[in-house]
């Protein structure tokens, strides 16, 4: 969680200075969801993300240096410098891909789960998405299909209360996202997304259910992003001034809460993490930018 926090703070600074040019959606404040879910998974399981997925990538064990190189547009980036912040991949760590089309990877995660089921493998797939994704029809189609085919799939909704600049009350009439799967017979749970042990426990149960062949689950993890929809600003969402909830949510810092429970000296750990980040960033900065001559490569696989 601390690695995610400090890495994203570093990326945020580079967004502000203009060193990072690609749009970056930071998950600062939401780290417990990624960390808690990944901790409940095994090698071979897959995690599918969206535009705000630095945390999912790092929680799965994706390389820090490759993440920095990717947002800096370097050839050593995890996506070869082709994706930027919104298109990350770490196939070896069980992260096939993250994409910024809202809800885009939810059916893909279901397809991976179907593949595991057809082959008789005891693997599970996790679809991470925000509360805004529930406004897309494909999620509801996928919930039904996942239930129908009893797929080993976990829907993880990171409800940070906002879809871009729109508060949930401007998009829905009821605060009931944990019930999103109920109509399709997918059991749902509401989880404190800023309590990593709660996320882990809910994910552990859902993963167990999926792996045993009992089918999909839906987790609504309640959390809050400390920064705006895109970029590093903490008081602006795409040019719209944010409401005043941030101060309240800062009191529920998932990292502070975890550190207190663990009786952990955060400053010492932070220094270690920062050293790692400095090394990774130095290497990423010194990597080469792609040659424009490669623009036509990899349109199709051969």
């Amino acid at each position: 969680m601390l690695r995610i926090r400090r890495a994203e703070e570093a990326i945020g600074e580079m967004c502000e200075t203009g060193e990072v040019r690609c749009p970056c959606h930071l998950s600062i404040g939401q780290e417990a969801v990624a960390a808690g879910v990944s901790a409940a998974l095994l090698t071979g399981d897959t995690v599918w993300g969206a535009h705000r997925s630095h945390g999912h990538y790092l929680a799965q064990g994706g390389s820090l240096e490759s993440l920095f190189a990717e947002v800096l547009g370097k050839t050593t980036g995890c996506s070869g410098g082709r994706g930027g912040s919104m298109h990350l991949t770490a196939p070896e760590q069980g992260l096939p891909g993250t994409v910024p089309i809202v809800a885009g990877t939810i059916p893909l995660a279901a397809g991976a789960a179907l593949a595991y089921k057809l082959r008789g493998e005891k693997r599970v797939a996790v679809a991470f998405f925000g509360d805004g994704a529930l406004d897309e029809g494909s999620v509801h189609e996928t919930l039904n299909l996942a239930a129908l085919y009893k797929l080993p799939l976990i829907f993880v909704c990171e409800n940070n209360l906002y879809s871009s600049h729109l508060h949930w009350t401007e998009r829905r009439v009821a605060d009931n996202l944990d019930q999103a799967g109920a109509f399709h017979s997918v059991p749902g749970a509401r989880v404190d997304g800023n309590a990593v042990e709660d996320v882990f426990e809910a994910a552990r149960q859902a993963v167990g259910r999926a792996r045993s062949g009992a089918g999909p689950s839906f987790l609504e993890c309640r959390t809050f992003r400390w920064r705006g929809h895109v970029g590093a600003s903490s008081d602006q969402d795409v040019g719209v001034h944010r409401r005043g909830e941030l101060a309240e949510w800062l009191e529920y810092d998932p990292i502070q809460r975890a550190a207190e429970k663990l009786n952990m000296d955060l400053a010492t750990h932070c220094a270690d993490v920062d050293q790692e980040i400095d090394r990774a960033l130095t290497n990423a900065r010194s990597a080469s930018a792609p040659d424009a001559g490669r623009i036509g490569e990899h349109v199709c696989a051969s």
Binding site: G81, G83, T105, G111, L114, A115, L118, S138, L145, V299
Partner: protein
Amino acid sequence: MRELSYVQAIHEAHRQAMAADCRVFLIGQGLWSPWYAGGSLEDLDREFGRDRVLDSPVSENAVTGMAVGAALAGMRPIVFHPRLDFLLLAMDPLINQAANWSYLFAGQSSVPLVIRAVINRGGEQGAQHSQALHAMFMHVPGLKTVMPATPADAKGLLLAAIEDPNPVLYIDDRWLYNQTGPVPEEIYRIPIGEAAVRRAGRDVTIVGISWMAAQALEAADVLASQGIDAEVIDLRSLKPWDQTRVLESARKTGRVIVADPGWRTAGAAAEIAATVAAEAFHDLHAPVERVTLPDTPAPSSHAEEQAYYPRPSAIVEAAWRALGRRVGATA
């Protein structure tokens, strides 16, 4: 060689691919009904089991997305859309996801997926059950598109599409289902991107796509009876398309007609005409002619349908124009 109908050839390709490769599975609408797929998938569910032949709810977006995800997870899915019109509900997984995937991640992974969609028109079905939308897909980098016109190609292109590491849109036309022709019994592939010269000729080149390739052959017979020696090329693949073979023929005859079962504006015929005009300009004796649908949705009533779909006579007239002859004159 043994003869099969176009629809039997599609059926055989599915059967052989599923028997040969356990990664191949089918998902989509109407798979357990002989009616939706026009017999092209009949009883595959009995032979291979309903776990591998999934007749899905009408959730085109999520079903196609699942096929993309299964492909990324090592399967070789074939997602079936009994009508091309309904594929429009699955544009995100097809274009944003499948077509971009290899490029986005610099070739670290790709989507070996077949999307099979059927042009199923005529019979007073009207605008939303009749569309030939291939040009929209031809536009998209990273997505291959094939449109077989013969039984042998229907089988060979499907088998090639299944083995291709990329998303391939396979569009078949119900009007071709009863066509018969020689089809090898074994597994074979027709290379994607290769056109076929169906009839050699000196005077004029007719590039036909799908159903219009069959119409082009009929037109060539009429033209032959009038002393005009037409060369007929069946394009077979729209993306990539065989520029080499088309340009060779264009340079030889100097007159090119493109017969396309889709609409006129920004259509497949427009792309081919533009390329021929740019690359073979100095060898052309006449402007490239396009035979297409008019730029209108498909009508429903029989009388309007008769006027809407071009017949071989439209290709014959285009050839006359290219040859500088008055339409209706004898050779």
